[in-house]
């Protein structure tokens, strides 16, 4: 009987592991889904403003930390700025001078638990009078 009980205990532990894994995957999928929407919004705003600082202020309502050409902002699970960050958004901007304007290219990378959750590269051509985007 002890062996039978041991067998059922091991089976139960496996089932609990499956449920815990499913719950973890669901949370990760929620974060990925929100990251995609957030990246899309960032791309749209950048195409209009041509500035990462303005984009961060419009999308998140706060400024982001800047280190050389890299910007960093901590977000909670609802993708709002937070000190206790569940997700970290890293924005890497590169600018190159075009014929009559500047081509800005931004790579947005969402980091969760030290792994990349989602990444998107978008760009905007910023002539003197406005901007057009190419995602």
């Amino acid at each position: 009987m002890i062996l039978t009980l041991l067998f059922f205990c091991i089976s139960g532990a496996v089932i609990m592991t499956v449920f815990a894994s499913a719950a973890g995957r669901m949370q990760k999928n929620d974060l990925t889904d929100n990251a995609v929407l957030c990246a899309q919004s960032c791309a749209e705003v950048y195409s209009v403003t041509g500035s990462v600082e303005e984009m961060a202020m419009t999308v998140f309502g706060s400024s982001c930390e800047k280190v050389e050409s890299t910007y960093r902002i901590g977000l909670d699970r609802d993708f709002r700025p937070s000190d206790s960050a569940a997700v970290v958004l890293i924005l890497n901007e590169k600018r190159s001078d075009g014929g009559s304007g500047t081509l800005g290219s931004v790579t947005a990378e969402f980091i969760h638990n030290d792994s990349t959750l989602y990444s998107l590269t978008f760009s905007a051509y910023i002539p003197d009078n406005g901007g057009e985007s190419d995602e």
Binding site: F8, L37, T58, V59
Partner: protein, 149 residues
């Protein structure tokens, strides 16, 4: 006699210990089943809410991008999307997102549409050429910003 009594007692104790162990195991299994059912229910409900809110935001943003022009109606509770001679009116009504298509010459009213998503709240605002779309389903909300037409 004494030996028989002590053997009988040890048998009884052994059986009782086995039964208690089995009972303990049964209780643990029942608790595990309850936890598993609660987890499944939570996953299912969360998935439904999250899917509905993000799908609604994507649907609205794709509709707005493909329209020639977009006019916010009902104080941000809806939008009229014009494409040629057709106007698609999307609005938030009784617990849902409704849509209807009318001629460009018809009156733009937020009623009489078909329900396409279950929603609690919709808010569309425009700022500096950008359209902010916010959708709320229960406790979950999804937001998106797109360029205005």
């Amino acid at each position: 006699m004494k030996k028989y009594r002590s053997k009988n007692l040890s048998d009884v104790l052994g059986t009782a210990a086995g039964m208690i162990l089995f009972l303990l195991f049964t209780v643990c299994m029942l608790v595990m089943i309850a936890v598993g059912a609660a987890t499944y229910s939570r996953i299912n409900d969360g998935f439904q809410r999250e899917f509905t809110s993000s799908a609604a935001v994507r649907y609205l943003s794709n509709k707005m991008r493909s329209a020639e022009s977009c006019t916010i109606i009902e104080n941000g509770n809806g939008a009229a999307l014009k494409n040629g001679s057709i106007v698609c009116i999307i609005y938030c009504g009784d617990d849902g997102l409704y849509e209807k298509t009318v001629s460009a010459t018809a009156a733009v009213t937020a009623e009489g549409g078909d329900r396409i998503f279950a929603l609690d709240r919709l808010n569309i605002t425009e700022d500096k050429g950008l359209l902010h779309i916010s959708v709320t389903v229960g406790e979950d909300s999804s937001d998106a910003i797109i360029r205005g037409g």
